[in-house]
């Protein structure tokens, strides 16, 4: 390898540009160090340290947001990483997610006899990996970051290892995750191979680089190997977002995983998948007919399957998992719209994700407080009478579920509206019809949950014994209030966020 190439590569290794990710990695190490150094009875400060570190980083990133986001898109590390506005927004998104997961984790782990430190360390590392994932500009970077995320989740899902359901969920996630990684890797290899074949136009010796690949695909718009590579890569991403037919792991894993991890999977992992999909949609834009038809079929199937399967679920963790599957379907509509040249579609998807974040964590927060010792066993009957005994939790739950169902004027409604508008502009009428049917179906199960909380009474105390409810602490209470208030406010006034996202 010529020395000059290495020199240019070294010159573009701008470590400052990934300072947040480095900080998170160091935070994870520091938390482990704290556990070793501190006496056992002082371990209660570790969650606080984690939340403080992640929250402080969030504030720092927000403070530098305009500086970082308004500049021109910049590539570092020899084109491995691209820094742009969308990447910066997802950094904020994942940091918020990390803080919220840590808060929920602090509440949930207090009920378990489990080591409490690794959880926060792993959450920090996984968050860093997600942030790198959405900024990657190269398949190697993408794969490494993705595997870091997935390996982190293997541990997190089976974290409560005394619970057989949690262990089983971990195993299922491991196997299906490995399968999907295999598909993804196969797709990447196909693309890399065909992109470097002699005799084709626009080949490159670095076809894993997104720019080079996009250039190659544009010049070979009907190459079968490239098409096969593309669909296999899409299959790998579809696993992350839980789109049909790669959604099959969702209910079991969501149910078995500890509730904060379920939240992390539902929001963080899914958002990461969509961020990658938004990037790849641009890379694959030369194959737009293929990609839109694959994603279109997936979206329709995902919406219908998610909602129909959720209808008859009694376990709320499975229910929220399947409803999350349907949300992935609505989001796919936005992604397809970007391929039809809708400039606002990316903004709509990101807005939807923010609304989904607020609403989901409101619901998961309530779930965490209601979960008993057996975290996997959370049934809808457990919510009976919540409105009377815990009005605060019940109201937060109602706002969260209402927002997920897309009831105006909550944030979830505005998100759905924006995505549907861009889909309409892209003339995706059939998909819109399916989506509307899905929304109608979803109202049924969301509202029967709300009804359970407000209008039902625990009928026979012996038959369905409700686990003891955790009292709401100061910080979780504050966080839940903020989430609910933000869900309402964002429904009324989108100005600030919409401006940042680029919706106007």
């Amino acid at each position: 390898m010529p020395i000059t190439l290495l020199q240019t590569l070294a010159a573009t290794n701008d470590w400052r540009s990934i300072a947040p990710e480095i900080f998170l990695g160091c935070l994870g190490l520091a938390l482990l160090g704290l556990e070793m150094l501190l006496p056992k009875k002082e371990h209660g400060v570790i969650p606080f340290a984690a939340i403080l570190g992640q929250g402080g980083l969030l504030i720092a990133v927000l403070a530098g947001f305009h500086h970082a986001a308004d500049g021109p898109a910049m590539k570092t590390f020899g084109g491995l990483i691209q820094h742009d506005r969308i990447g910066e927004m997802f950094r904020v998104f994942f940091l918020i997610t990390a803080v919220l997961v840590s808060v929920l984790g602090a509440v949930a782990l207090a009920k378990q006899r489990m080591p409490k430190t690794e959880f926060f360390a792993i959450v920090s590392v996984v968050t860093a990996a997600m942030m790198l994932l959405v900024q990657s500009n190269h398949f190697v970077m993408l794969f490494v970051a993705l595997e870091t995320v997935t390996v982190g989740f293997y541990i997190l899902v089976s974290y409560t290892r005394t619970n057989p359901l949690s262990l089983e969920a971990g195993l299922k996630y491991l196997i299906t995750g490995a399968l999907s990684s295999g598909l993804l890797l196969f797709g990447i290899v196909l693309l890399y191979g065909v992109g470097g074949l002699n005799g084709l136009k626009g080949t490159s010796d670095s076809a894993m680089n997104f720019g080079a690949l996009q250039n190659f695909l544009a010049q070979n718009p009907d190459n079968f190997l490239a098409a096969a590579g593309i669909v296999l890569v899409l299959a790998g991403v579809a696993f992350k977002i839980g789109a049909v037919p790669f959604q099959i792991w969702v209910p079991d894993v969501y149910q078995g995983a500890p509730t904060p991890v379920t939240a992390f999977l539902a929001v963080g992992s899914k958002a990461a998948g969509f961020a990658v999909l938004l990037t790849l949609a641009q890379v694959f834009s030369a194959y737009a007919p293929l990609v839109t038809s694959v994603l279109g079929v997936m979206a329709a199937a995902t919406i219908l399957f998610g909602n129909l399967a959720a209808l008859s679920q009694g376990n709320v963790k499975r229910l929220i998992g399947l409803s999350g599957v349907s949300h992935a379907g609505y989001l796919l509509l936005g992604v397809i719209a970007t391929l039809h040249g809708q400039v606002l579609a990316q903004g709509a998807v990101i807005f939807y994700l923010f609304g989904y974040l607020l609403a989901s964590f409101a619901v998961f927060g309530v779930m965490t407080h209601l979960a008993g010792e057996d975290d996997a066993d959370q049934r809808r009957e457990h919510y009976a009478g919540l409105g009377r005994t815990h009005p605060f939790l019940a109201v937060v739950l109602a706002i969260g579920l209402g927002s997920l169902a897309g009831i105006p004027p909550l944030a979830g409604f505005m998100g759905k509206l924006l995505v549907f508008i861009v889909a309409f502009k892209a003339r995706l009428y059939w998909l819109l019809a399916v989506a509307v049917v899905g929304v109608v179906l979803s109202i049924y199960y969301y509202f029967s949950w709300i009804r359970e909380a407000f209008f039902e009474e625990p009928n026979d105390p012996g038959a369905t014994r409700q686990p003891a409810r955790t009292p709401v602490g100061l910080i979780p209470g504050l966080v839940l209030t903020l989430l609910a208030a933000a869900s309402v406010l964002l429904g009324f006034y989108q100005g600030g966020l919409a401006g940042i996202i680029g919706l106007r």
Binding site: I175, L232, P245, F246, L308, A309
Partner: protein
């Protein structure tokens, strides 16, 4: 403060008053009355300040933008708005003061005065609006406040039915109005009045659809049925809303959209107005209830104004050039102004009579009130002379003659109808006047009648003075009480020349009043029914015809159709579609749930199937 801020203040003050009453003073009737009346005083003062200051302006702000569609909220304050605002302010203040005395004993004073404030807000909104869409919003709001106030005595079945009727009948007109607005926006690309003044696209449909709104709100044929029933509301409300201001909003709106008018549309408007004027005058003759007489009289006068508007422009020479003067607008607005004064006076006078007679409303049970209630008698007499058009000293003479003069110039048939209506007007007014005030008391209530306190009499005096002096205007558009502040409207009034008009007016008055005074005896029975039963029956049938027709339609057609729809809803929608869909969805849900077997082997097969399907996609099998 700039004049624009004054205008915004005058709009928002009554809203604030209504909010304060609704939120804080629901149980404090006295305080609510004070707040509302103080607000009305401020409105009247600011309205006069705005008018006298002479500044005329337009301002707008964007409210909503969806792509190319923009909605603005704005204020258009020209001479027309200034005149209307002054009328609303002054009459509104009189009615508020009158209500202080009239509603003293009422149990729900807070709701009443809150309703008045809401009404003032909505009415001022109509007056200041700078586009049709904004007018429509406030149009619905006056409809709502009218519903609240008619419904004030809601324990009474008839009151709540009347309120419902008023609301629903107005909905019919508003539907056309909304269609007109949409069509206007579609064709012209704007609903802003100033922009519409330069509109180039004309059609007959737009002005006629917009006119539907006026037909509902100003109770023209065939939607006139709600106004007589609306008299179930408290009498001051009848004076303010159902005589002076809200029902006149239709005419005000027509004047706003005058640039859109085409001859065919004007012709329709003209005939609707003339027919309403005549029909309502015929109905008024047989009424026994003092308020019903005045209600039909209001209908008739509103028909006059609509007809005046429909007469349209006249060509005159101005500095050697032929110009079109919108004389119809001038005549209609002029009559609207004087009518607001004298009809509010008559209604408040009737309120004073009803209050004095312990809520007796039958004119055949009154009589002899001249001596019992001298101040009411004098002011009411002024009102009667004003509506009958006594030459020179009353305002009604000038405004009515402007209309008659215009009709004479433009359309002889309509002129004949309007003259005949004028004769009928003085006939039924003097009939009522004689039965109420002359002769001897015919009931205990009338025998023990008494004058109310100053809050009841003061507004009468103010309005009586306005009914006398409100008619003096010149060709240049200046006027005795108007100064030169409303030139934009008042200079459009057509002025009759010569003595023929005076002679005609005197003739009308003499024939109508003379016949009434001769025919009717101060007795407990209707002299017309006794002497000319055929005529009386005929008039009665004329009045009943519309009610019968509507009742038939509602009972026989609409009700049955609704029953049919209800049955369809139960069987088809609730039964088959909703239940059926729910069952199907449930079955699918169970099926989908069964796919999640929990076995890892199955999941791996899923992945394999998915990968195979995707491969097939890539190979183009599904294209």
């Amino acid at each position: 403060m700039t004049m624009l801020q004054h205008a915004i203040l005058v709009l928002l003050l009554p809203l604030a008053s209504a909010a304060v009453i609704a939120l804080l003073l629901r149980r404090a009737g006295g305080a609510a009355a004070f707040v509302s009346t103080a607000t009305a005083t401020a409105i009247a003062m600011i309205a006069v300040i705005l008018a006298v200051h002479g500044d005329r302006f337009e301002a707008a702000m964007e409210w909503l933008r969806l792509g190319g569609f923009r909605l603005t909220l704005g204020i258009k304050f020209d001479d027309l708005a200034a005149l209307m605002l002054c009328i609303v302010g002054v009459v509104g203040l009189c009615v508020h003061v009158f209500s202080l005395g009239y509603m003293k004993e009422d149990g729900a004073k807070a709701r009443y005065f809150g309703g008045l404030s809401i009404f003032m807000f909505s009415m001022i909104g109509i007056v200041l609006a700078d586009n049709l869409f904004m007018i429509f919003i406030f149009w619905e709001l006056v409809g709502f406040s009218s519903w609240v106030l008619i419904n004030h005595f809601h324990e009474k079945q008839s009151a709540s039915e009347a309120a419902k009727k008023a609301f629903i009948v107005n909905r019919v007109g508003d539907f056309g109005f909304l269609l007109g607005i949409i069509m206007c926006w579609w064709v012209n690309g704007t609903v802003n009045f100033s922009a519409l003044a330069h509109a180039h696209a004309f059609s007959t449909a737009i002005p006629l659809l917009l006119f539907c709104g006026a037909v509902g709100k100003s109770a023209q044929l065939p939607l006139q049925v709600w106004l007589p029933d609306a008299m179930e509301g408290p009498t001051p409300v009848s004076a303010l809303i159902h005589a002076a201001t809200m029902v006149a909003a239709g005419i005000f709106m027509l004047c706003r959209i005058e640039p859109l008018m085409v001859p065919e549309a004007l012709n329709v408007i003209l005939w609707v107005g003339a027919a309403t004027a005549l029909y309502a005058a015929l109905c008024a003759i047989t009424q026994r209830d003092i308020k019903k007489v005045l209600a039909y009289s209001t209908l008739s006068q509103l028909g006059y104004m609509v007809a005046a508007f429909g007469l349209g422009s006249i060509a005159t020479e101005h500095e050697g050039k032929a110009v079109l003067v919108a004389a119809g607008v001038g005549a209609a607005m002029f009559h609207l102004t004087t009518h607001a004064f004298f009809k509010a006076l008559l209604f408040l006078g009737s309120g004073s009579v009803i209050h004095g007679c312990h809520h007796e409303q039958d004119i055949f049970k009154m009589g002899g009130l001249r001596k019992k209630m001298p101040l009411t008698f004098v002011t009411f007499t002024i009102g009667v002379f004003a509506i009958a058009g006594l030459p020179f000293i009353t305002a009604g003479f000038y405004s009515k003659d402007a209309i008659l003069h215009l009709a004479q110039e433009k359309n002889t048939a309509v002129f004949a109808i309007l003259v005949f209506t004028a004769v009928l007007t003085s006939f039924y007014m003097f009939r009522m006047w004689k039965l109420v005030f002359l002769g001897t008391p015919r009931s205990d209530e009338a025998a023990h009648a008494h004058e109310g306190g100053p809050s009841l009499t003061l507004p009468l005096v103010v309005l009586a003075i306005l009914s006398l002096v409100g008619g003096y205007t010149t060709h240049e558009g200046t006027g005795l009480i108007y100064g030169d502040r409303f030139k934009g409207v008042l200079s459009l009034i057509p002025h009759a020349e010569g003595w023929s008009v005076v002679a005609m007016s005197l003739g009308i008055l003499a024939v109508g009043a003379g016949a009434a005074l001769l025919l009717y005896k101060s007795g407990p029975v209707d002299s017309l029914a006794a002497r000319l039963p055929a005529v009386f029956l005929g008039l009665h049938l004329v009045k009943e015809s519309f009610d019968t027709a509507y009742n038939y339609y509602v009972a026989k057609i609409q009700q049955r159709f609704a029953l049919l729809l209800g049955a369809l809803d139960d069987i088809l929608i609730a039964g088959v579609i909703v239940r059926g869909c729910a069952t199907v969805a449930e079955l699918f849900g169970l099926g989908a749930r069964a796919l999640h077997t929990g076995s890892l082997h199955t999941y791996v097969w899923w992945f394999l199937g998915g990968a195979a399907a995707l491969w097939a996609f890539a190979a183009g099998w599904f294209h």
